[in-house]
Symmetry: C2
Subunit: 370 residues, 2 copies
């Protein structure tokens, strides 16, 4: 099911990070957020730090990951020296040694990626001789524009999700519970090669659909009911995200109207996506259509978000977003309407931004009645 994927090579990423560091006027950054560690080094374990200086660098993990880190950094072309720190003090000493060797004075931490307690500890006890500064999400900013090898992974994850849903849609008419359908969907994605879910799937039928983030329950999906199905998977570290809302048999006229309004909003939002467009403008396109139907308050979330190593990343597609879309950004377009006691509709695609528009990565058809 998964096509041959081009190799991910991280060496250029570290070069781009160094350029960004120079722009920030810092000598080094201590990367602690695991999605950023993965992006920069290829390492997929649960504990590591990377110190990147203008010309030097060190990857530190613990004894559990001695073999794995050597394998993964090697495969990804990561140029960093690897140190195994058997305890916190040992890890600190390794990092200090390289900071000294590189003459680091001003060290950025990832202010959005360390806890306040960690920041205090790093500044006061690990690096008392350095100027430790709260850094912006520099690596996250690099991650926004996806390389072809990344887009292919997200495309493969989207394709698996499309195919899994196609294989199971008729199961909705068999008296299945939300929970059982969610499990079948997860298994179908895994059997097609997914590494796992990109998030716990939402299968929300009837009134449950009014909760945008409902968890699958033991409720049996009934005929003529709206069912919101929001799900995705991970392929080699990259996420997919798609929502479809369907009804087994004809729904009520009100439900059909909700669906048609959201369908129009989603199509308009997707059509608005292009390089050079403000993300907030995409949100506005969707929001105005829903507001014109009288449901402004019932669309109580942003229109979308970036997708990549994390299921929610920058750029955000919302009223508050200041981002301008660029080629290689991958975002969702997912307006919704939620009416307490009645139900909800959300339709969502994951798309890759291109010069003239977008490349939809999720392709499952949008039909209300199945």
């Amino acid at each position: 099911m998964i096509p041959a994927l081009p190799r991910v090579d991280v060496s250029d990423r570290i070069a781009r990070l160094r350029a960004a560091l120079a722009d920030e006027g810092a000598d080094a950054i201590l990367v602690t957020r695991l999605p950023n560690i993965r992006y920069l080094t290829g390492f997929t374990g649960s504990a590591a730090m990377a110190l990147i200086t203008a010309t030097d660098g060190l990857f530190v993990t613990d004894g559990r990951y001695r073999e794995q880190s050597a394998e993964q950094l090697g495969a990804a072309g990561c140029p960093l020296e690897i140190a195994i720190g058997l305890g916190a003090d040992d890890q600190r000493d390794h990092l200090r040694r390289v900071a000294d060797r590189a003459g680091v004075g001003r060290l950025l931490l990832e202010a959005g990626g360390v806890t306040w307690a960690q920041a205090r500890d790093l500044a006061d006890r690990w690096f008392p001789d350095l100027e430790v500064l709260p850094g912006d999400p520099i690596v996250e900013t690099l991650r926004m524009v996806k390389e072809p090898a990344e887009i292919e992974r997200i495309r493969a994850a989207c394709h698996i999700a499309d195919d899994a849903l196609a294989s199971l849609l008729e199961r909705l008419g068999t008296g299945i519970t939300e929970r059982a359908f969610a499990l079948e969907l997860e298994v179908a994605m895994r059997e097609r090669g997914a590494d796992g879910n990109s998030f716990d799937p939402i299968v929300a039928s009837g009134p449950n659909g009014a909760k945008p983030h409902a968890r699958p329950s033991d409720r049996v999906v009934g005929r003529g009911e709206l069912v919101v199905i929001d799900f995705g998977c991970i392929v080699d570290g990259y996420c997919s995200d798609m929502t479809r809302t369907v009804s087994v048999g004809e729904p009520s006229p009100e439900a059909r109207h909700m669906w048609e309004v959201v369908h129009e909003a989603q199509a308009a939002g997707r059509d608005a996506v292009a390089a050079g467009v403000e993300a907030a403008a995409v949100d506005r396109v969707c929001r105005e259509i829903i507001a014109a139907a009288g449901w402004a308050e019932a669309f109580a979330h942003g229109t979308g978000h970036g997708v990549g190593i994390e299921i929610h990343e920058d750029p955000r597609v919302s009223q508050a977003s200041s981002a301008t879309l660029l080629p290689g950004h991958i975002v969702t377009v997912e307006p919704g309407v939620y009416l307490p006691g009645i139900g909800g509709v959300r339709l969502e695609d994951t798309v890759a931004v291109t010069e003239g528009g977008c490349d939809p990565l999720t392709a499952f058809p949008k039909h209300l009645v199945v």
Copy 2:
């Protein structure tokens, strides 16, 4: 499969938090870590904050969770007022209103539960008139001692894991891959009522077992090989954790020796668990047995950790731990030996600490040859 579980009532937890706050000399705490939010309020969504003062309090979430928060806080007996903040400014205003009303001067944040960026924002922009202080993990400390309703959930999760493994062990001899076995294990737990995995299962055969945190691969499990199987599930928000290492058919004498040493260490560690015992002493018992076999360096992780709403919580069972075990603590005992190029052995139980010893919650038999 899941027995009737006693209701979780959170009202006493907030009372205990207030007592702890008074001990800290603070007027209020802003709880932001989601596992702590769940513990204090019953809310399971992905975004919320709770301000708890000596006599007052507020739960704030966003528009997606209007219905869910009302349902869950009501069901859990949480006495907090609920506010829906449609954006960050709106949430801030709700919190300021209650902080003013309660006369808060000294406000604790969860220093280990907010990022440095969030802490700066909260201190400088949300609460510039308050003394905003880095708080210790107060809620995590409350969470260490489990109530009977919590122990029953963890017991149910452990029982599901036991039963799922029993149903599948013979599949290891059928030429199955690590990845396929992991998926079958996950499905078997879900079919028995689990809400999901407590972590991605580890199924590591032959040389892969030398990586303590290996991910399941497409390697076929061979006969006479050690296979490390580390997995768990979630029942109503509470985790289980168990590891077994088995061989389909007789393994090499060296593999058998490794297994027997780890088996002895694990049994001794588990037997050492009791209220009043230092967690570090349990680690020492395991470590000495493995060191005596010449493998001190090959046991490159701690002996165990607390289990509850999170798969890894306090108390830690390690050389560095300063915890003393108390009745109601739930911890794992999981020594291991890892030999690069050869393989690994880990055996793990989750146990509830009692006055005289411990109550093993995972009960699957430990046999090397299956």
